[in-house]
């Protein structure tokens, strides 16, 4: 379907973005492209639909030479492309007009366009949205509209350039479902992604580095090569990590790239062994993982609260009078049937409903919930950007309903918003970081001190980056500068809204470490994240939001014990926990309960499958134990 021969390309004529790429993509293939930021992935796929022309080499799409100007529109309608940012690629105000944009440009007849629009919307599951306004849709829905817009051109190849990276788990799932259904019907799919779980679904995977194809093969061949992946700034899927860990402990299983396969293989190994009577102490009755070890927190030395929300409600659309009416009605409804009014009501005008929440000094609090669950509104309450319409917020002993106190709290509760690098504005990095301290009215020498120290706290050096324009820096560095801009306010509480959004795996790890270090230095941290793995790894406590209300609250162990409830509101659990639950379901008697990490799950499985594993069975292979050290990073 697609043939690339020696494709080279440079944006500025000096630094090559692509350096001799040879790649064939077969008809009907699901092809995944991985690679760190700046490895040339996006540049490469832009060649596949003639958005860019190679400096050297040839690209051939469905037998058409992409450099032939006569064929440009044939190629672009053959290879349709969905971009990363859902907000950037919709042209029209109404959904159906946007989907029709492609076929309109191709000069398709009106009646046939209507037909194509209907079919395309059906394929992405958005029937009935024809007359909706595009800007009012969720990110996931927008991205599916963009996909429908491409499908309406009736392409043979679908190119997705990190199309899911800005979506929440629910939007992500919806997009992947649509793509898989299309692939099943014969569509060739080329997908750039940072999610290894997505890559494991592909037929073949290519890994880019510095404008070249560094690795090429099936997911099984590529995703199990821990050392090389780490060098390329990539992770292994969690199931591979588990498999490798088990092998290292001497359990004879293969590292599977798909979780279902990994679970199936372990379950089978267990079944064989228990049949042969060679399993370790597994005769104990199978206990429920759900609701496992719940450690009651020690009431005695609970640190003081720094932020307290009590019974906070907020609505963007209701006026004060309407809110009173709602409350009256709900008071009546409370007696009869609370669920009817406060249940899953999509038309609910409340962004927050009766939220009570305490952030304690020194803790690392995680906030989970999909888009529209009220997380962002909650975050804006934490430092007085929004004052509650009902209920009260107290931060650092001050009442935020008082305007003066709210201003004082803004300096003490630093908020890093989503994509904070977009807020950079000054001529130099130093000036941008100094913006906050200047606003506080601090003397110049104190401002200078804060600029230097906050830059060093995010791992940047004032003398090397201080005089540069923030716009010259790489994306990751820009985000660090934005972090420093907030840290320069010397806050006591740091609130982070999706701090790792849009980063590649290596940069994600760096930022997680950075945030963890800030927390260890004594900052109270509140982090909003879609990644359950990140939340499980970092947080002391997790609050799950749904429909504007607190859905669950507790330690990661407590919260992730309720996998089914979380699933019902569109959230998942960390990968290790997911596999543990699947294994328990498959009849493997896991007993430890609580929250599993890949390591602890591997430990227990090793115990279960080969008895006490320490020392006895895993001396066999030194190379394997080297792999283990790599595993720590997963």
């Amino acid at each position: 379907m697609i043939e690339c021969r020696g494709v080279s390309f440079s944006y500025d004529g000096a630094v090559p973005a692509l350096d001799g790429v040879d790649l064939n993509i077969e008809d009907g293939e699901f092809f995944c492209i991985l690679g760190g930021n700046g490895s040339g992935k996006s540049t490469f796929v832009k060649h596949l639909n003639a958005l860019l022309q190679p400096d050297a080499g040839t690209v051939c799409v469905n037998g058409m030479d992409a450099s032939d100007p006569e064929l440009v529109y044939d190629i672009r309608s053959t290879a349709g492309m969905v971009f990363q940012n859902p907000d950037d690629q919709l042209v029209a105000t109404l959904v159906e007009d946007d989907v029709a944009f492609g076929p309109e440009n191709l000069g398709v007849e009106s009646a046939q366009i209507a037909q194509r629009v209907r079919e395309a919307l059906k394929a992405v599951g958005l029937v009935g949205f024809e007359r909706h306004e595009t800007h009012a849709l969720s990110g996931g829905q927008k991205q599916r509209v963009a996909l429908a817009g491409v499908l309406a051109m009736e392409p043979r190849v679908l190119i997705l350039d990190e199309a899911s990276s800005m979506l929440d788990p629910r939007g992500h799932k919806g997009l992947m479902k649509a793509c898989r259904a299309l692939h099943d019907r014969g569509m060739t799919i080329v997908m750039i992604t940072h999610f290894m779980e997505e890559a494991s679904e592909a037929d073949r995977v290519a890994v880019f580095r510095a404008g070249r194809v560094a690795m090429l093969g099936t997911p099984e061949e590529i995703l199990t090569r821990a050392d090389e992946l780490a060098q390329l700034n990539l992770d292994m899927p969690a199931s591979c990590c588990l498999g490798m860990e088990l092998r290292a402990k001497g359990v004879p299983v293969h590292a599977q790239v798909r979780e279902v396969d990994m679970v199936a293989e372990i379950a089978q190994t267990y079944a064989e062994r228990s049949g042969a009577g060679t399993v370790g102490q597994s005769s104990a009755p199978q206990s429920e993982i759900v609701g496992g070890t719940v450690s009651a927190s020690n009431e005695d030395d609970v640190p003081e609260p720094v932020i307290e929300l009590s019974h906070v409600s907020y609505s963007y659309s209701l006026s004060a009078r309407e809110r009173r009416r709602w409350r009256k009605r709900s008071a009546v409804a409370d007696k009869s049937n609370k669920q009817a009014l406060w249940g899953n009501d999509p038309s609910s005008p409340w962004a927050l409903r009766d939220v009570s929440l305490t952030v304690r000094r020194g803790e690392f609090l995680g906030l989970a919930g999909h888009t529209g669950s009220g997380k962002s509104t909650l975050v804006q309450h934490l430092n007085g950007l929004i004052r509650p319409q009902e209920g009260s917020v107290r931060a650092l002993g001050l009442d935020l309903s008082n305007k003066k106190d709210a201003a004082a709290v803004k300096a003490k509760v630093g908020v890093v918003f989503q994509y904070p690098e977009r807020q950079l504005f000054a001529e130099t990095v130093a000036q941008d970081v100094a913006f906050g301290p200047h606003n506080l009215g601090l003397p110049q020498d104190e401002v200078d001190r804060r600029v230097e120290s906050s830059l060093s706290r995010v791992g940047l050096d004032l003398s090397t980056v201080g005089d540069k324009s923030p716009f010259e820096l790489s994306g990751g560095q820009q985000r660090r500068v934005a972090f420093a801009g907030v840290l320069a306010m010397e806050p006591e509480v740091l609130v982070l809204d999706e701090p790792m959004a849009g980063l590649d795996p290596a940069a994600r790890r760096d930022f997680l470490e950075l945030i963890d270090r800030l927390h260890r230095d004594g900052l109270t941290v509140v982090m909003v994240s879609h990644s359950m793995d990140d939340l499980a790894n970092c947080c002391d406590r997790i609050v799950v939001m749904n429909e504007g209300a607190v859905f669950a609250e507790g330690t990661p162990e407590q919260v992730f014990a309720h996998a089914d409830e979380l699933k019902s509101i569109g959230l998942g659990v960390p990968a290790a926990q997911r596999m543990a639950l699947a294994l328990a379901e498959a009849g493997v008697p896991l007993r430890r309960g609580g929250l599993y990490t890949v390591e602890s799950l591997a430990d227990e499985l090793a115990d279960l499958l080969i008895g006490r594993s320490d020392g006895s069975s895993n001396v066999s292979d030194k190379a394997k134990s080297e792999t283990v050290t790599r595993e720590e990073g997963c």
């Binding site: 672009r76 042209v91 963007y316 300096a411 989503q418 504005f425 000054a426 606003n439 907030v486």
Partner: protein
Amino acid sequence: MEAFSFGSYYPGDSAIHRLDPRTKLLLGFVFLITTLTVSGFRGLAPVAIFVVLIYAVSRVPARRALSSMAPLLAIVAVVAVLNLFTDQSGRILWQLGFLQISEGSLHSAVFMTCRLTLMMAGMSAITLTTPTLDLTAGFERLLAPFARVGLPAHELGMIMGIALRFMPQFATEMKQTADAQASRGARVTGGPLGGVRMLGSMAIPLFTGVFRHAETLSAAMDARCYHGEQGRTRLHALAFGRGDALAAVVTALLLICVIVINLQLV
């Protein structure tokens, strides 16, 4: 953030909704001229009936119609007050220094209020029943004859459509930037220096955002084979129907009524 809504399109499938946008624009123009020629309260009666008729047929809820007009009513209020103190004639009702209100000025203030409100109601009936893209398409087609003298009609229509599409986007981004800078202690009321700094901290992220959007949007439009007007078809091809003829007849009736009343023939 979610509360932002630009344009006032109210989705529906009424006879008014189905009218060709060109009809609505042209007849809207005729309606404006007609209303401007009305010279007395009696002449406003058929205009009021016409407006009520439009809203009844379009089935736009009264509340929605009023809320979309609310910002415009500020202009009406300003004009009314100006009239109240300027257009003097007849008995003086109230005086304070150089300010005075007379019978004539009261009459003209009330008349202007009624006339302007009806005009606004009529025009917002168009935006309420027409998606912005259709409106721009209508403009584009109406301007098409001028393309021969070098007016880039299609491009103008496209620019307008995209501008309207991105308006809510930029409003959201501006709100986010303002929140982020306010979290870093920026205040709008920080003296002239603070004001300038706040302005820069708001404007520059907004502009970089605009360029970022423009870059991807142009790539996305290229990827969907956009290449200007040539050979382009439309999902909803504009076509005049029987409804358009009927609308033209009704508007003509209105015009005749107003002229008859103006000439004091009844």
